[in-house]
Amino acid sequence: MKVSESYYDELFPFLGQWDMESLCGLKIRTVDGKTYVIVTELYQENPGSSVTYTGEYLKQQICKAKGLDPDKIVYLECNPNTNSKLSFYDEEFFEVNFAADPQSRYRRLSVDEVKHIVG
């Protein structure tokens, strides 16, 4: 279940829940004047907490490391396609608004939106 390198430009080590050493894929794109930070879950390659479980704490770490203003980025979580027979591992992208209540915190991007942002 190796995640394709096409999903990320770099591997980003981060501290997960309880500062557990963790790893995700990271891609930063500027499209139409907006900065998109795209974090990709690496499954077996991630020794610690998932990007979803770590949530806003991961966003803070990336913004600090990359000198980004957290209020001026669009934060996306990517559930990469791993060519598994199981549908749970199909590709999905979510825009995350950590200020929203849990039921509406995640918005799944359409295929067109993904193409526009990621290419």
Partner: protein, 433 residues
């Protein structure tokens, strides 16, 4: 060092209605106990089989929890001990899964594996420097340091049903290289398979005063050479054991049978010939099969589930266990359902795999609950779960008699079931569920 009297508690949880209840001697508390220094005098209480007396004298309390359905009870226990001015420590699988909440209820939370680390916690406590969290997540100790569990702490007569001793739990490895959708083991024990040295396994197994075991490792099918070496090494012990999946390889299955494989838990996830033949290959080697069937996956409709349940009648399973998909924290299922806003119940008492806590993709929660109940009723409609278990028991007893290892049941406990008097009322199949 002055003796420390520790009350080590395994909290109770509400058992699922309709299913035969068997209380096995818990593994986590005695694995933790083995890591404590000799000057700790441990009084172990398993609340599932005995009453907890909060006023028993002790210096410190330790809670060990495995299931999500134990955590709220653990917090109640901690509150009672806090009223009595006691310090409460906690650890275990569900302490790690629910750590953010757990830490608010205890004086100190231990995350990770405790080999080589417990004494420091006690020294800190003695010096008044107890930390709120001892965090060893992702920092596993050397697997060689895992020693025999403190099984001497069990009150053996309580893990006994009508004179038959329950199996002892045992682990030959930790960690898991798989990332199965509903499972958190790779988060808890690391994403690397960490087999224990074979000589340590044999030494540990030989020391267990029980000929029947449950090897609780997530999957033994992670390193074929180690697996073969393990089976060759434990065969002379003539123990009989239950385990999760074994490698689907003729040589491995043959070695497993010779090493005492009694029955295995095998996931039944579709109605394919592969599953049918997989079950047959176990049976051809004299190994029984308990099918584990997970209901409520996103690719399942009500009809799919019913087809799967009906299929079980064609594959000659010895037992079947049905569970409802449950998004335990730190699983991919949890992340997916959380993102999709599909988890509607965060009451951890309901995370028992028999109650729907999320919105399934292709049916309503009520429909999934109905399918689950249909599954249990349908599979056991002609022969109860207890009766099927008895047949498996007879199989193993016969094998033991042939090998001269059979231990007759304890007649003195024939009218006891897990410490309580046996209920001799007769159940019909209809009201058994």
């Amino acid at each position: 060092m002055e003796t420390i009297k520790m009350k080590l508690i395994y909290p109770k949880w509400k058992k699922l209605p309709g299913q035969t209840t068997f209380n096995l001697p818990p593994h986590g508390p005695v694995a933790f106990a083995a890591t404590l220094p000799e000057y700790v005098d441990i009084d172990f209480v398993d609340e599932n089989v005995e009453e907890l007396n909060f006023d028993d004298p002790c210096d410190i309390v330790a809670l060990s929890t495995m299931l999500s359905t134990q955590v709220k009870r653990a917090w109640e226990i901690a509150a009672e001990y806090h009223k009595r001015g006691k310090t409460v420590l906690a650890g275990g699988i569900s302490a790690m899964l629910h750590a953010e909440e757990y830490v608010n209820h205890v004086d100190s939370l231990f995350l990770g594996e405790s080999e080589g680390r417990s004494e420091q916690v006690l020294l800190d406590w003695k010096e008044g420097k107890l930390k709120k969290v001892y965090n060893f997540l992702g920092k596993q100790p050397p697997i060689e340091s895992v020693g025999p569990c403190r099984r001497d702490l069990y009150k053996r007569e309580l893990y006994n049903h009508k004179g038959v001793q329950m199996v002892d739990l045992f682990h030959a490895s930790r960690g898991c290289r798989f990332s199965c959708y509903p499972c958190a083991v790779s988060y808890l024990g690391g994403r690397k398979f960490r087999p224990r040295p074979i000589d340590k396994v044999v030494e540990d197994l030989a020391g267990i005063d029980n000929n029947r075991l449950f090897i609780v490792d997530n999957s033994l099918a992670q390193d074929k050479e180690w697996e073969k070496e393990l089976f060759r090494a434990i065969a002379p012990l003539k123990k009989k054991w239950i385990s999760h999946t074994i490698e689907d390889d003729p040589e491995v299955l043959d070695l497993a049978a010779k090493a005492g494989a009694w029955y295995v838990y095998q996931a039944v996830y579709d109605t394919s010939d592969y599953i049918k033949e997989r079950v047959k290959r176990y049976h051809d080697n004299g190994i029984g099969v308990e099918g584990t069937i997970l209901l409520g996956l996103d690719n399942q409709t009500v009809d799919d589930c019913k087809r799967l349940i009906d299929f079980l009648g064609e594959i000659d399973l010895d037992l079947a266990e049905f569970t409802i998909m449950t998004p335990f924290p730190h699983t991919k299922a949890y992340d997916d359902y959380l993102r999709q806003g599909r988890i509607f119940d965060f009451d951890w008492n309901h995370y028992n795999a028999g109650q729907v806590v999320f919105k399934p993709a292709q049916m309503t929660p009520d429909e999934l609950q109905g399918v689950y109940e249909y599954a249990w009723q349908s599979f056991y409609k002609d022969e109860t779960q207890e009766s099927k278990m008895f047949r498996l028991f007879c199989n193993v007893a016969l094998r033991e008699m042939n090998e001269g290892t059979y231990r007759p049941r304890n007649r003195a406990l024939a009218n006891k079931s897990f410490g309580k008097d046996v209920d001799r009322s007769i159940k019909t199949h209809q009201n058994a569920f």
